[in-house]
């Protein structure tokens, strides 16, 4: 067997192991091994490449690997779990940038590439990679709250984007020499600039609460950019791995959109969060029943079943550890405790599950919407912490702005306890009838302080 054949076999093994590794992510029991398998597949692909590629100078390659390895390792070790969306966001950006740079470097070594697989792939890699890079950067800045998470919109925004896409297509054609007789290098540079600009323009109109969709979509793009880079250099393992990531990102994007009952187009161009037809002055003016920590403890401590609904407010207040203590104390008293997690409960898909896992909540206690919704009518008490729109029964009203959004049917439980700062509306900007129901108790206050009070109160129960 010659060396080239061995290298190809190694790439094939690597691609296979990526699929095997991803498959192990289907259960929390096997997921960690799956991730290790995928990491091993990556190592194989890198080894095969350094053996196979003609390498003129090792210095730069080793410096680049060491630099990236140290930065990535430190970031992975230091990041807080609440900041996971930003981290994944910025990593997406680096992935997209790497693929774009592969395409750009290939172009620079042969600007007269002309029409063909290589030329078109270079343009696609640059375009998708460029959009991923600048879009992820904006998403990172928004999530890190270095700029306002509010949507930034201006008149003619969508028209401008459409024009830019057309200009990019024209410039792409000019780069390959299909139209015009301009210097390919100059045209290509403008093409790259427009790719970056498009990434910025596509993400700034999207609000903070829609970020799960954006992060998922950019994840998909980073995969597609890698695939395009694979076509540029004619490497199958890049094409396959990129396609896997592209599929993963797209599936998660669809799930997030479904969780909000909105189309991708609506998220991207929608301008959601306004509250047309809602009288905001009336919000929070109706009478509610409220309780203190002792009252809430008594409601939770003497029943058979409690379902906790954590929302993003819980994570903001960093109260997940106290929440777990309440859950443990209730279980010691013989109460069955489950956690119901809405698909868009955090700032990225599955974010809330990670935050609860970090707080040592057993993963078999975490239930998603489809698994738990039928249980609410048999539940004694529901404790909602920092969630609002995802438990708003208005979603069943066809005239509501959130009509059709999947919600957790908490109002069917015998007792509903809502821990919240105030009666202020959630992201949808509408009032929540749940707060005013006869079987609802409001437990006002900061989630962390209230939860600490609740831990004490449950402990003091007889």
């Amino acid at each position: 067997m010659d060396a080239a054949f061995l290298v190809e076999l190694t790439y094939l093994l690597s691609a296979t192991l990526f699929v095997v590794g991803l498959k192990r992510l289907q259960s929390p029991a096997t997921a960690r091994a799956g991730n290790a398998i995928a990491a091993f597949a990556m190592l194989l692909a890198i080894l095969a490449t350094v053996v196979d590629a003609e390498i003129l100078s090792w210095t730069g390659i080793l410096i680049g690997m060491a630099l990236g390895g140290v930065i990535g390792g430190l970031a992975a070790r230091r990041v807080e779990m609440t900041a996971m969306p930003q981290l994944v966001g910025i990593f997406n950006g680096f992935g997209g940038a790497a693929s774009a740079l592969v395409a750009v470097t290939e172009f620079l070594s042969n600007p007269a590439v002309g029409v063909g697989t290589a030329g078109v792939s270079i343009l696609l890699g640059t375009l998708i990679g460029g959009i991923t890079l600048s879009g992820s950067f904006i998403a990172f800045v928004k999530l890190q709250e270095l700029m306002s998470g509010n949507p930034i919109t201006f008149p003619g925004q969508n028209i401008l984007n459409a024009v830019l896409v057309l200009v990019a297509i024209a410039l792409g054609a000019a780069t390959l020499g299909v139209v015009g007789a301009m210097d390919p290098l100059t045209v290509f540079c403008i093409f790259g600039g427009i790719s970056l600009l498009l990434g910025v323009l596509l993400v700034i109109p999207i609000g903070g609460a829609d970020m799960p969709v954006v992060i998922s979509l950019l994840n998909s793009y980073s995969g597609l950019a890698a695939s395009a880079a694979g076509f540029v250099i004619g490497n199958m393992v890049l094409i396959i791995s990129g396609a896997l990531v592209g599929a993963a990102g797209l599936i998660l994007t669809q799930l997030m959109c479904k969780g909000m009952n909105r189309s991708l187009a609506n998220v991207a161009f929608g301008g959601f969060g306004g509250s047309a037809g809602v009288d905001r002055a009336q919000i929070g003016k109706r009478p509610v029943r409220s309780a203190d920590a002792e009252g809430v403890a008594a409601e939770l401590g003497y029943v058979n079943s409690v379902v906790v609904v954590p929302g993003y407010g819980l994570a903001v207040a960093q109260a997940q550890h106290e929440l777990r203590k309440v859950g443990d104390l209730l279980q010691e008293r013989g109460v069955s405790v489950k956690y119901a997690i809405h698909p868009v409960a955090g700032r990225m898909p599955g974010h809330m599950n990670v935050l609860l896992a970090e707080a040592d909540v057993s993963y078999d206690k975490l239930y998603d919407l489809d698994e738990i919704n039928d249980d609410f009518s048999n539940t004694d008490a529901v404790l909602i912490v920092g969630a609002n729109d995802v438990v708003n029964p208005a979603a069943r009203d066809p005239t509501s702005v959130i009509a059709g959004m999947p919600i957790l049917d908490v109002d069917r439980a015998r007792r509903v306890i809502v821990m919240k700062r105030s009666l202020s509306p959630g992201f949808a900007g509408i009032d929540n009838d749940l707060f005013y129901m006869d079987n609802t108790l409001m437990f006002f206050g900061d989630a962390k302080v209230s939860m600490a009070d609740l831990v004490r109160a449950v402990r003091e129960l007889a």
């Binding site: 630099l67 990236g68 750009v104 998922s216 890698a226 791995s241 990225m348 993963y363």
Partner: protein, 92 residues
């Protein structure tokens, strides 16, 4: 069949395989799935090594090394942070 067509077949079939495998990942693991997928997209490192290795100009060499560094952030950071998260998922 030309190289382009082979590549397209591979791309389409890999997308379908990915769809089958990933649809079955439970929502509780969606964040690790995303950061893990992110690490896999660091496969661009392969392309980066190829172009950096054969770079014949200073600019190409610099861009190639930058691509390697960024892909490596993705690979090392992505797999490590995924492992860190998955190590927290325990059944008690």
């Amino acid at each position: 069949m030309g190289e382009l067509m082979v590549g397209l077949y591979v791309f389409v079939l890999a997308t379908l395989a990915g769809r089958e495998v990933i649809t079955k990942v439970p929502p509780t693991l969606h964040t690790p799935l995303m950061s893990g997928a992110n690490a896999v997209s660091g496969i661009a490192i392969v392309g980066a090594i190829v172009v950096a290795g054969r770079a014949d100009g200073t600019l190409q060499a610099v861009l190639g090394v930058a691509a390697i560094a960024m892909a490596m952030i993705n690979v090392v950071g992505g797999f490590l942070v995924t492992d860190r998260m998955l190590s927290m998922f325990k059944k008690r």
